[in-house]
């Protein structure tokens, strides 16, 4: 079947209502920063400022958001680190390529929101205390938290609302932080790593060594990125007329990748939090029937690119069962960080760690002129050294050798 790309941008431009405005003055939601800085003045909390250098981007209602380039404290993601570790490895690799100062901390816990949304075995005070403990740990290093997980990103914005609007929650968190010997500190901005990738997309493109212009990618924007506390997600008039988030799509366009549009872009991936762990029949069915099959029929992309742990996992892993049922599947799934790293010449197995992914991705690599067999042999050579005890771990230097 031939490629069918829906002309979404043209449709949006032609249907845009005359009254549509993209200005902060027209924003239907409060600017939380007004309250945050007021509470700081009143001595209720401490605001962790975005360090320089930073890039300003535009959010849903035309407000500006600061994205720090470096001096970042990497708030890692459970699912990425546990099951698809090339995702976070690629984020670190990009930082190292640009020589950015960052720290990969071990005094970080999960935001615990995956469990909270799955089982509700927690409460507002506990969730807020977990968040502030992590932010205080970041502040102690003099660096700014960069959030790897879409759910952590969304949940921390929920926590922000609760801390700013409910003094009971603030009081309890203050009591806990005093017991832990930590400060009640909250960041000026909650920043997702994909916003950082978006902010440096032109720099990535400048150092691109793999031509990706033949690639068609379908984008799945993560629900907890653009639906949960919607106002500080990135929107850009040049991308979809600012009618949907520019995240991921803006990055891929900068790399010369064609966007394969599909009608169910707003649907979730099927992750479900509880469902992906103990009720996976739902996750599998939704991912295959509402996402992958629709993409296949309407855009026939070479790859699906998304920016959250759960989305990569669900969309990738669910295709195995879909194939067994004769469904139209077979599209590899990666994160924007992996695609950006690949574009800059990162090794598909030593850095992207694609062997942790499920759906066949070798045809995608071949289309980019990368020989997956040769790259796998190089990775196996590195594994042999570990097996022989010549070294205990693969180092960053090994990854670039």
């Amino acid at each position: 079947m031939g490629q069918q790309v829906i002309p979404v941008e043209e449709l949006i431009k032609s249907q845009k209502k005359p009254g549509f405005k993209y200005t902060p003055e027209e924003a239907p939601t409060e600017d939380y920063r007004d309250i945050l800085f007021q509470l700081e003045k009143e001595g209720e909390l401490e605001v962790l400022r975005v360090p320089e250098p930073y890039v300003e981007v535009t959010t849903k209602y035309g407000r500006k958001k600061k994205i720090p380039l470096e001096h970042t404290w990497h708030h890692k993601s459970c699912g990425q680190c546990g099951h698809i570790p090339g995702y976070s490895t690629s984020i670190f690799w990009l930082n190292r390529q640009f020589g950015f100062d960052y720290v990969d901390p071990s005094d970080q816990t999960s935001c615990t929101a995956w469990n909270y949304y799955a089982s509700a075995t927690s409460n507002a005070e506990a969730q807020a205390a977990v968040a502030v403990r992590n932010f205080a740990a970041a502040a102690e290093t003099g660096r700014f938290p960069l959030i790897h997980c879409g759910t952590s990103f969304g949940h921390y914005k929920e926590v922000r609302h609760e801390l700013l609007h409910h003094h009971q929650v603030r009081r309890k968190v203050r009591e806990i932080m005093e017991r832990l010997g930590k400060r009640l500190v909250f960041p000026e901005e909650i920043v997702h790593y994909s916003e950082w990738v978006y902010a440096i997309r032109d720099r990535i493109a400048e150092r691109q060594v793999i031509d990706m212009s033949a690639i068609v990618a379908s984008v799945h924007p993560a629900c907890h990125y653009h639906k949960l506390v919607e106002e500080d997600a990135i929107y850009d008039p040049e991308i979809y007329g600012a009618q949907r988030t520019a995240i991921v799509t803006g990055t891929l366009k900068a790399l010369g990748i064609q966007i394969g549009e599909y009608s169910s872009w707003y649907d979730c991936c099927g992750f479900g939090f509880r469902h992906i762990l103990v009720s996976r029949d739902f996750s599998r069915s939704f991912a295959v029937q509402r996402k992958i099959e629709v993409m296949k029929e309407e855009a026939d992309p070479d790859i699906v690119v998304t920016h959250d742990t759960g989305c990569v996992t669900t969309l990738d892993q669910s295709q195995f069962a879909g194939k067994a049922h004769g469904k139209k599947v077979g599209i590899p799934v990666m994160s924007d960080s992996q695609i950006a790293a690949l574009a800059m010449g990162a090794h598909p197995y030593k850095v992207l760690q694609l062997h942790w992914h499920n759906t066949e991705n070798r045809p995608f690599l071949e289309k980019l002129g990368i020989d997956p067999e040769e790259k796998w042999r190089e990775f196996e050579d590195a594994l042999e050294k570990l097996k022989r005890g010549e070294k205990h771990y693969l180092t960053w230097e090994d990854a670039d050798a």
Binding site: F92, Y117, K227, F286
Partner: protein, 242 residues
């Protein structure tokens, strides 16, 4: 006999919860309303159905975020109790329903209802979380939700044989990761002892373990043993069973 159907509660369960006293249902409903976040998630309902149109669970289950928002807004105590047992665990918590033109967050409302269901040890909550205990154990005791060693064929048979390959090469493949914090197998990343102790103190000071006790007494006892021992080693005299 004249029957006023408007005064009859909507109950499609066949009277499954008829024996539960109204006062008990009302107590749980009031607990939902007493949450400080309640007025952040429910403002009213136009019955427009935008939330249902966007909802993934509505496509695959007999589930409606609109019905839940409506029932709570109308203070229909009987229906809320039914939904709290038979419906809320189908929600995907994706928050697609946050596009509500009235500003509601049905997903957020459901989070509050789930919390009440757990805190009160409802049987339906225990059933919904059956098999989930190992995840609660992992996140509460280690500070990371999923770990590499969970990738075992018996846990993910529907993910195909690549899970076998990962399980067979787990230690080697983890050592082949350049970031030092990712060399772990039992946690997503290395978490320092001091940080874990701080997390346990948060659980202690916020009553989260009381919720675990309501939902799974066996899991509570295992977590209690692990946490109290590590806290004692760190110099804290803390008990979770007060």
């Amino acid at each position: 006999m004249n029957v006023d159907i408007n005064s009859m509660p909507l109950d499609l369960t066949g009277g499954k919860y008829r024996d539960i006293p109204y006062e008990e249902k009302e107590r749980l409903f009031n607990e939902v309303k007493a949450d400080v976040r309640f007025h952040d998630v429910l403002y009213g309902c136009y019955e427009c159905g935008v939330c249902v149109a966007a909802c993934p669970s509505a496509r695959f289950y007999d589930f409606s975020p609109r019905v839940i928002a409506q029932a709570v807004a109308r203070e229909d105590v009987e229906l809320v109790y039914i939904l709290m047992n038979d419906s809320i665990w189908d929600c995907s918590q994706c928050f697609s329903c946050d596009r509500c033109p009235r500003g509601n967050s049905p997903g957020g409302l459901i989070t509050l209802m789930r919390e009440v269901a757990v805190r009160n040890g409802l049987e339906s909550a225990k059933e919904a979380l059956e098999g989930y205990g190992r995840i609660i154990y992992k996140i509460m005791s280690t500070g990371t939700q999923v770990s590499p060693d969970m990738l075992q064929p018996n846990a993910f048979p529907d993910w195909g044989h690549h899970v076998n390959e990962i399980a067979d090469n787990l230690d080697l493949w983890r050592r082949a990761l350049p970031p030092e914090t990712l060399h772990t197998v039992e946690t997503g990343w290395s978490v320092s002892e001091k940080t874990i102790i701080e997390l346990y103190l948060i659980w202690h000071m916020t009553g989260v373990m009381d919720m675990i006790k309501e939902i799974d007494e066996g899991l509570f006892m295992i977590l209690q043993d692990v946490m109290e021992e590590r806290l004692e080693d760190a110099g804290y005299d803390v008990t979770f069973d007060e």
